[in-house]
Amino acid sequence: MADSTEVPIRESETPTISITVDFYGGLDTLFGKGQHKLAIPAADKSGSPSTIGFLVTHLCETKMNDPRTDLFVLDGHIRPGILVLINEADWELEGEEAYEIQSGDNVVFVSTLHGG
């Protein structure tokens, strides 16, 4: 899997897409604070364009500071109770995990809170 940090890319390497990702509602403690600027592979291992589904796995494998991956991913999918917004729009309107990520996209993950 390609490096997801902003390392200069040689021509021969996998092309990447630059995106920004934000985590809220406690997910920030799993991934680190503030906005994450990432260069993710433009395609998955099978050569298909990278989707949100791919991004979720990619984040889990390369960016999580915490061993408790089930707080973010369950059975290969984003766990229930996490809201996903793509460019400020509900991901349901964008095709959910099948949405193909575009350069410059902003993806927000928010864990729903219940305390009071």
């Binding site: 934000d22 809220y24 509602g25 406690g26 920030d28 604070k33 503030g34 906005q35 089930d70 707080l71 369950l74 766990r79 229930p80 109770g81 996490i82 809201l83 917004l85 400020e88 729009a89 509900d90 349901e92 309107l93 927000v108 928010v110 864990s111 729903t112 809170l113 219940h114 305390g115 009071g116």
Partner: protein, 313 residues
């Protein structure tokens, strides 16, 4: 109610003059507050600050639901209780505090947990509901009842260093009505609850007082706004469905960073979609009914896989 056109009493005028002179409130807005009934569900970290400002603003009838009693570990954030009332029902403790702040409103205590058996009966008596509870099963229940009874819902939550706030079902629109851009319900925004294993309560994860305080005060701000602007009244003329709609539904997210002064990421307002056609509660094929809920359908505990058979606030 919409508010009549009576004169204000001298005491009302003295108490509320500072807020009445704010453009957009005025005497009409103040009378709408006085003639309105707000239900606050939960008398904890959100409910205490929310209730202070709702009572201060002069909302005429304030109901408070909570089955718990005051504990010493509550007091760092539940600012409507005091040490001398430890062991008292939270609703009675909070109402004692509120009466000191403002004697004019009618306060109605419900010193028990809200659940499928009693929620509709209680909520039906109010114009607006504030969800200040602390567990998902109750949050889904409250939203479902608000959809069925056409009540606006101001919902907030807070754990550790994070807070969230959203205004739902406002202006209220009847269940099944989807031929326009209507406000979402809780299920439109949060389709599935998190698995219990991933959920953090204030007891387990901790909570910083001002974080939950900010959300509670903000809830009061939204509630006052809705009542002053008469946005709690269900639309009647659906030939003009967009006219009275609020701005784009927005989820306000607050993150408190212990290491930084107020920074650009402390607040974020996320635009949310409107009512969803396929929503289980408010959508076009919804089978949700008050009778169903009272007889156990849906099963909120199972939906949220709560280990305990009781609904706790």
């Amino acid at each position: 109610g919409v508010g009549g056109s009576r004169r204000l009493t001298e005491e009302e005028f003295d108490r509320y003059s500072r807020q009445m002179i704010v453009p957009g409130v005025g005497k009409d807005g103040q009378l709408r507050l006085i003639n309105s009934r707000i239900l606050i569900i939960g008398a904890g970290g959100l409910g205490c600050p929310a209730a202070q400002y709702v009572a201060g603003a002069g909302v005429g009838t304030i109901g408070i639901v909570d089955g718990d009693v005051v504990e010493v570990s509550n007091l760092h954030r539940q600012v409507g209780h005091v040490a001398s009332r430890i062991g008292m029902k939270k609703v009675d403790s909070l109402i004692t505090h509120l009466r000191g702040l403002n004697t004019l409103p009618t306060y109605v205590p419900y010193g028990f947990h809200i659940g499928p058996q009693n929620a509709a009966e209680i909520i039906s008596q109010y114009d607006l509901v504030m969800d200040c509870t602390d567990n998902p099963a109750t949050r889904y229940l409250i939203s479902d009842i608000c959809v069925l009874l056409c009540k606006p819902l101001v919902s907030a939550a807070s754990v550790q260093k994070s807070g969230q706030l959203i205004v739902l079902n406002c202006p209220p629109t009847p269940q099944g009505r989807v031929d326009g851009k209507y406000a979402p319900c809780y299920r439109c925004c949060f389709k599935k609850p998190p698995p219990p294993s991933s959920m953090l309560s204030c007891g387990e994860a901790g909570i910083v007082g001002p974080v939950v305080g900010m959300m509670g005060v903000a809830q009061a701000g939204e509630a006052i706004k809705i009542l002053v602007s008469a946005l709690h009244i269900p639309s009647r003329d659906f030939s003009i469905p967009l006219e009275r709609n609020l701005a784009q539904p927005t989820l306000l997210i607050y993150t408190y960073e212990l290491e930084n002064a107020v920074g650009p990421y402390s607040f974020r307002a996320l635009k949310m979609a409107g009512r969803k056609k396929n929503c289980f509660a408010c959508g076009e094929n919804s089978t949700l009914t008050l009778e169903g809920i009272q007889s156990g359908t849906p099963n909120y505990e199972q939906f949220c896989s709560l280990p305990s058979p009781t609904f706790t606030l």
